[in-house]
Structures are given as C-alpha cells and as structure tokens.
C-alpha cells in the first residue's frame, strides 16, 4: 500500500522524538511504500536529511515556509467566490466555528492559484472587513489586517501546493500537516490517520502567550486559529493515535470524538541501552540532561535549580547534552546566566552519542515546559538510570507508571519551580540506594510496555485495517 506520511518541522530534516519514531516505523514496516510530505521553516534544509532513508520511501516532497517570502503578489485581481466560501473564510479569520467544506471545495477546484494575489484582492479585503466588523470593531484595524494576513499566509501557501496521491494519509502532527491530510482525504477520498505526539494547538498556545511580537489583543485570534484547525483535523481523521492518556484527555477537550482515539506509546530498542553500566567513578555526582537548548526545554530554570544544588552538593556536575544551534540566542542567554550565577561545573557538550554519555550519569533530568513522551526518558530507564522530569506530557505516566506495580522510576516535579527541582536532585544525590531502586523499576517498565517492536506491530496492524 502507498502511504503518504506528513511531517511538520521534523522528519527527515530535524532530529527529535517524532523523527526517531518515524524512522523506526518506515524502516520496520517494509511491506508498505511511503511518500513523505514535509513542511519546514528554512529552505536551507532542502535535501539535507538527518536520516538514511530506507528504500521503501518512494518520494520526499519538501515544502519550506520561508519560500513564501520570495513570492510576489499582483494587486487588483478579482475572484469569483461563492457566498459559502466567503462565509467560511470570514469564520476562519474571525476564529469562529468554521464550515470547512467550502474551503476544501475552493482548494480542490483551484479557485485561488496564487495566495499573494488573493491577499491583495478586493475580495480578501471585503471578507476581512466583514470579519472585523463582527466582533473586532474596537481593535486597531491596521493591526487586525496585518495579523490576519500573516496568520493565513502559511496556510494559503500550503493549499496551493499539490498533494501527492496515495492510498492512505498519515500525519505525524496536527496543524498544517493535519490540515493537508484532511484536505487530501477530501480530494482523493482516501482514509486519513493522525498521530499526535504533543498536542499541537497547546504547544502553539504556549508559544503565542509567551511571544512578544503578537500584540495582546490578537493572541486569542491566533490561538483560536490553531484550535480551529486542530478541531477540524480531529473531526476529519479516521483515527487518532497518541502516546499517553493525558494527551487523549486534552484531545477530547479540544473537540476530538473519544471513540476515534487510541493510545500507541513510543518504543525503543531496549537492548541498545541494556548493558550500559556506570562508568564514571570519579566520586562526584553527575546529573545529565539530554536535550536541545531551546526555550521550550526551560534550560534557564535547570541552571537556576542546579545553582541551588551546588550549594549543598559541592561535587555535583551538570552535563547538558544536545545541539546548541537550535536557538543560538537562547543558548547565549543560558551561557550568560551561567556566568552571572558564577556557576561552576556546567558542561554544554553539544551533540553527543547518548549511549556513551548515559554511562557517566548518575541521574537524568528534564525541566521542559512541554513534552510528548520523551525518548530520553525511555532510554535512561532502559539504562537503569533514575529520572527527574517536570509534570508535563507523558512524563508522569512513564516515571510513576499506570499502576503497573513496578514502582517509581524517578521523581516528578512541577515545572519552573527551582526549589522543588533542586530538592529532588539533592534527594537523589544523597541516596544512591534510591537511585538504583528507581533505575531498576524503570527498566522493568520499559521492557514490558515501551519496546520498538510493540510500537511497530501496532502500526502494522493499523495500516492493515485501513487497506
């Protein structure tokens, strides 16, 4: 069967949870052929794959959103849009309940061939003005105008790109690729599956709330926009898969029918981590964090917490292992923070071989604001290491288990709480017995529930059921 898999900002250009999962699937499900549809931010990544693509990948369609910036619109074009389409577009702008059918119809019948022309047309302006007058009439019009334009631009760019024809569509996230998947289902009348690792609209919401460039009163507009897309994708998907129960609950809250959702956890090759033994016997306590340096991982809180730890545990070291080039500004801010706190023994290793470094660690740590079901937790557990993680995503389920009798594999801490994070670290530093007990619990849990084999088998069955 020809399966079109859709990725946004992940496989095969960027490493990370979704990419690891995707590589595992396509490599092990050799009975099917895959076509990749990928959306990236930066055109520089064109053709630069971080993974060796297995031979059953037939094609990779790469789209980059910064390509939009190269476009040029012609001013004054007119469009014949039915009242249904105009109404749906208006709802899309205003962030109300949207009837998507007319929009899909519009895309399928190529009513708009160049989105930039459309954004400069009278029709667009009229629809925008109606949306404005119905609920926004007190906000600055110019700001509203530019917000709507920039909000819709990536979406309209994507819908004017061709979607490959396949027998099954499987999107690895909600959002833009989810939208394209639902669109493909409408055009080709083929089933569409969604696997959501992290909850897309929640992640966007967090970004928007924090972002400085979205003006206060337009934050809701942005948030609703992503919520609307997510909801439409849930409604159109034939089945929705997610990694853990907490995600499922959020998805239901966001408008996904409960009966569509199934939980399929991530899996790892346990044997790769099975034999790692503690290799650093220098005496001090090594705390490791395998993470890219990015605001969403809240490295600053991690540093602040370690600053407290350092006051009690003098011989502790913090290894932050992962790429620093993801967000260089943030990385520099973190380094400045280290200097300002006069914090010693913080090591940014850059990209490293996890298996080699896990051996040196006494415990592992994540202080993220948002997570799905982190592979690093599974891998550390497979290597019998205790794990301290914030109470986000599926971390609690992994570390404390779902009443499976294996016991705690680490400590769950509230996010952004330096005092609690520090005391959890100190507790584990001071108690090597607890560390090994937690390590063993983790290992048992991973072996039972979170193996690659289990994950692959689940998706094999799912694909077969949609044949």
């Amino acid at each position: 069967m020809k399966i079109c898999m859709l990725f946004e900002g992940s496989y095969p250009h960027v490493t990370g949870g979704v990419s690891t999962w995707a590589q595992m699937l396509v490599k092990n499900i050799s009975g099917h052929e895959f076509m990749l549809y990928t959306i990236g931010a930066d055109n520089k990544l064109l053709g630069k794959f971080k993974y060796d693509l297995p031979p059953n990948i037939l094609s990779v369609q790469e789209l980059f959103l910064d390509k939009i910036l190269e476009g040029k619109g012609v001013y004054g074009r007119r469009y014949k849009l039915s009242t249904d389409i105009r109404k749906s577009l208006k709802e899309l702008m205003a962030g109300k309940d949207i009837d998507w059918e007319p929009i899909f119809y519009m895309v399928k019948n190529k009513k708009i061939t160049n989105s930039l022309d459309f954004f400069m047309s009278v029709d667009f302006f009229d629809i925008l003005r109606e949306a404005y007058s119905e609920g926004f009439s007190t906000v600055p019009f110019t700001d509203f105008f530019w917000t709507i334009r920039s909000m819709l631009l990536p979406l309209f760019y994507l819908i004017q790109q061709p979607v490959p024809e396949a027998e099954l569509y499987h999107s690895a996230s909600n959002g833009y690729t989810g939208f394209v998947g639902a669109l493909a289902k409408y055009i080709y009348k083929k089933p569409f599956l969604l696997t959501e690792h992290g909850i897309y609209s929640r992640e966007r919401e967090e970004e928007i709330i924090k972002s400085g460039w979205v003006i206060g009163q337009f934050k809701d507009l942005w948030i609703n926009f992503f919520k609307n897309i997510s909801k439409m994708v849930y409604e159109n998907a034939d089945a929705v898969y997610t990694l853990f129960e907490k995600n499922m609950e959020i998805e239901i809250e966001l408008g996904c029918p409960r009966e569509k959702i199934k939980i399929v956890p991530n899996g790892i090759y346990v044997q790769d981590f099975d034999s790692i033994r503690l290799s650093d016997e220098s005496g001090g306590v090594n705390i490791g964090s395998i993470t890219r340096i990015a605001p969403i991982k809240d490295i600053k809180t991690m540093l602040q917490s370690f600053n407290i730890v350092k006051k009690t545990i003098k011989d502790s070291k913090l290894y932050i292992m992962g790429p620093t080039d993801d967000d260089e500004t943030y990385y520099n801010e973190c380094r400045q923070l280290v200097r300002r706190l006069k914090l010693e023994d913080v090591i940014f290793t850059g990209r490293v071989d996890i298996r080699e470094y896990i051996g040196k660690m006494d415990m592992l740590l994540l202080t993220s604001i948002s997570e799905g079901q982190p592979f690093v937790i599974l891998e550390s557990m497979a290597a019998s290491r205790p794990f301290i993680a914030t109470d986000v995503g599926g971390c609690r389920e992994l570390i404390y288990g779902r009443e499976d009798g294996f016991g705690k594999a680490g400590i769950i801490i509230p996010m952004m709480n330096t005092a609690k994070i520090a005391s959890a670290i100190i507790k584990l530093c001071q108690d090597s017995g607890l560390r090994s007990e937690m390590g063993n619990s983790g290992k048992k849990r991973v072996k039972k529930y979170y193996t690659a084999k289990k994950c692959v088998e689940s998706y094999k069955k799912i694909y077969e059921s949609f044949r």
């Binding site: 992940s10 949870g17 931010a41 619109g73 001013y75 600055p140 992290g198 970004e207």
Partner: protein, 487 residues
C-alpha cells in the same frame, strides 16, 4: 517538537510607511516658472525689436527658436523631473540630504547627452547660420538644465530666490540684446540668442550657487553617487510615463496642426501653425491663477484631513474612525475641486471677455479667435485634469494617474487628427473633446478611488515587505561597487 510555521511570522510584521509626497504639488507650481519666463522674454524682446525697428522675418525665427527650446525642454525633462521630485522628497524625508545635490549633476549628465542626439539631427541640415545653430543648441540645453533645477528649488520653497534669479537673467538678456544689436555687427537673431545664452547662464549660475550653498550647510555626509537616483526608476517608472504622456498631450495637438496645411515653415527649419498656436498660448494663460490657488488651498485644508486619515491607519484607529476620516477627507477634497472649478470658471470668463476686446487688436483672425474660445474651455478641463492627477499621486494611485494621462494623450492625438479632416470649423474641438473626456475619466477614477481607498491603502502594499532590486538598482550597484566596499 513539530511546529515551525509560527516562528516564521515574525518576518511579516513590518508595515509600510507613508512618505511625505507633497513635493509633487510644489514641483507642479514651480514648473510654471519657465513658462512665465519664456512668455516674459518673448514679449519683451518682441517689444525691443519693434522699438529698434527690425524686420519681421528675423523676429519670427527668433521666436521659433525660443518656443521650440522651451516646449521640447519641457517635454524631454517632464518624465525625469517627476522621478527626481519623488527622489528628492524621499531623501529629504529620510534625512539623506547628501544624496540630493549629486543627483542634480547626475540627471543633468544623463539628460543633456540624450537630448543632444535629436537636437543635432534636427539642426544638422538646417540652412540657418551655423553660429545661430550653435547658440540655439546652447539655449536648448540651458533651458533643459533650468527645468531640471526647478525640482530642487521647489523643495526649498523659496520662490523669491527663483524670481530674483529670473529677473537678473531677463534684465541682462534685454540689455545684452540691445547692446549686441545696436553696437555690434552681429546678425540680429544671433545677437539675441547669444544674449539669451548669457542670460540663462546667469540664471543657472545664481540658482546653482544658491542650491550648493543650501545643501552644503545642511548635509554633513559626503556622497558621490550621482546616479543613485536611477534606482527610483525600478519602483516609480510609471511616474516617468505619467508625466511624459501628460506633457506630450499638452502639445500633441499643436504638433498635429504643424503638420497640417496651416503649418508654416521658418527658415526651412522650424514649423509652426500660428493660426492655432497663438490662441492656444493665450488660452493656457487663463489657467495660471487656478494652479497657484489650488496649491495653496490643498496645502491648508485638505492636507490636514489627509494626514488625519493616514495617521489613524498607521496609529491605532479602529475601522469606524478610519471610515469617518475617509469621509471627511473625501468631502474636503471634493469641495476643494468645486472651488477650483468655480474660480476657474470666473477666470475663463474673464479671459474670454478680455480676449474679445484685445485679441482682434493684436491682429488675431476670426478663425483663431474661434479656436481660442474652444481652447479656453479645453484649458479649463485640462487644469482640473491636472489637479486630479496630482491628487491621485498624493494617494500613490500611480496606476490611475497613468491611465488618465495615457487616455489624454491618445484621445488628443486621435481627436485632433479627426478635426483636421473635418476642416476649419472643427479646429480646436479635438483638444477640447480629449481634455473633456479625460477629465470625466479622471473624475470617475478619483471617485472610485476615494470610495475604495481603504482597500488601496491596505492591499496596495505588498504582503511581504522587501526591497525589490530591479534593473536600475542592479546597474547602480554595479557602478558604485567600489565605493560601497570602501564605506
């Protein structure tokens, strides 16, 4: 995790800016200067010749030389002056004063050689005395330079300086003409053109020293990029054609009559059609006062509403406020146009009445007088037409302005051809019809534009803000590649 689309949008947040574009107006006002200057010179030298009792034939050749120089200088420079008007006002607005004076040298260096080719071809086979050819050529070039300089002077708004320089020029021309004719053996036409050469050289020198003085004090940064203004052709090339087509349309009816049976050839070189040209000259005099009044009135009442509208858009205005500002602006604008129409009706009537008494006295034929009456009406339409074009340029509706000036040029050409086939009773009707039709087109365009101005203001700007570098931009970059590396 997945999800990148959002970060990208930082790039779109830039907004366009509304620059100070009042300059078009002053430029239009000041461009009347050379026209007035030409009139004064011709009239005073004519008086001088009458006083000194010189033959009619020499008078005719001299006037033809002067009129040709002024008309073709105006046509040739029209496109360039519009572009540099925009350039100079933007440079002023963005406080890059160092770029202004070099662009004057640049545009002169560009236009003079371009014009030299047709001018030399035109004079080459003429049986006119070689010395006269030389002085006519120089006069033509000097007038071109004067037209180009007017743009820069309009920026300073120091009209008295212009009047003073012109007065010195006229005075010295008159004195020198008298001296050359009375005390030397020079050919009369040669003597007078030579006097004009010197007079214009004086005007140019005075104006240039004034401009240099002004910009030297004002600008600290040194700039050697004479041709930097060429980059404006990439974005504002339509301004070039708007102005060129409009100016061509002003004269195309005359040219067509020159080629008709009423055309007369002077010294086998200069053709003209006095039956048609003389009344058209007097008709155009009738619109001068309106032009001045319009500039003043637009400056005061309308500009305030215009600013209010755009500051609501760039500021935090909601749509109702913006819409109200639009209505206000539109109301004031139409009432200004009505005022101008009323005022011009008065002036046109005065000219018709005055013409009725005076034109026969100076020997105008009844055919020419009939043409005069029609052309007063045509000039009336034409001045309102110009007002609308300038307003549209205020609003950056170059598309509309281009459409109007193209309509004006084409309709004038076609209709004037038509009237020549109809014969004498149609003379003048072609230009009137073309101006009337174009005025209707212009008013409809202005009305439609003002009704849709929100759309034009918002959607006329590119979705993605970026610097477009076109052919001229690349050319300029190539020229100055060494300078850029140094700085």
């Amino acid at each position: 995790m997945a999800g990148i689309g959002f970060e990208l949008k930082k790039l779109f947040k830039g907004k366009g800016f509304f620059s100070n574009i009042k300059a078009y107006l002053y430029s239009a006002l000041v461009s009347l200067g050379p026209f007035i200057l030409a009139t004064i010179m011709i009239v005073s030298i004519q008086l001088l010749l009458v006083y000194m009792d010189k033959p009619l034939k020499e008078k005719e050749l001299f006037i033809a030389i002067v009129i040709y120089s002024f008309i073709f200088a105006q046509i040739i420079t029209s496109g360039f002056t519009m572009i540099i008007t925009r350039f100079v006002s933007d440079m002023l607005y963005s406080k890059r004063l160092g770029y202004i004076l070099p662009s004057l040298y640049g545009v002169i260096t560009l236009v003079v050689p371009i014009t030299a080719v047709p001018a030399i071809l035109f004079l080459w086979n003429s049986p006119v005395l070689l010395e006269i050819k030389l002085t006519s050529y120089l006069l033509f070039m000097e007038i071109i330079i004067t037209y180009l300089m007017m743009v820069y002077l309009s920026v300073l708004k120091d009209y008295m300086k212009i009047v003073k320089s012109f007065s010195w020029g006229v005075a010295s021309t008159l004195i020198l003409s008298y001296v050359f004719i009375k005390f030397t053996y020079l050919d009369t036409v040669l003597g007078m053109t030579l006097a004009m050469n010197i007079g214009f050289l004086l005007i140019i020198s005075l104006l240039l020293s004034y401009l240099r003085g002004f910009f030297k004090i004002q600008s600290t940064q040194k700039c050697e990029k004479y041709f930097y203004f060429l980059t404006y052709f990439d974005r504002y090339y339509s301004l070039f054609f708007i102005s060129l087509f409009y100016t061509l349309a002003l004269y195309v009816h005359n040219f067509i009559f020159w080629g008709s049976s009423i055309g007369i050839r002077i010294s086998s070189t200069y053709i003209y059609a006095p039956t048609y040209d003389v009344p058209s000259f007097y008709a155009f005099l009738s619109v001068m006062p309106s032009m001045v009044v319009f500039v003043v009135s637009l400056e005061t009442s309308f500009y305030e509403k215009y600013r209010a509208y755009y500051s609501l858009i760039t500021g935090k205005g909601n749509f109702i406020d913006i819409e109200n500002a639009r209505k206000n602006m539109s109301r004031v604008l139409w009432s200004e146009i009505r005022n101008i129409m009323e005022l011009q009706t008065f002036f046109s009537l005065v000219f018709v009445v005055a013409g009725f008494y005076f034109l026969p006295v100076i020997g105008m034929s009844s055919l020419s007088f009939d043409i005069f009456l029609l052309l007063v009406l045509a000039a009336y339409c034409n001045i309102i037409l110009l007002v609308v074009i300038l307003i549209l340029l205020y609003f950056e509706d170059r598309r509309g302005a281009f459409f109007i000036s193209t309509t004006f040029l084409i309709s004038n050409t076609v209709f004037t051809w038509g009237t020549i086939y109809i014969g004498e009773r149609g003379y003048g009707f072609g230009f009137f019809l073309a101006a009337f039709l174009s005025l209707i087109v212009a008013l409809v365009e202005l009305r439609t534009f003002l009704n849709n101005i929100h759309y034009h203001t918002f959607c006329g700007q590119p979705v993605i803000q970026k610097q477009q570098i076109g052919l001229f931009g690349r050319m300029v970059r190539f020229f100055y590649r060494n300078q850029d590396q140094e700085s």
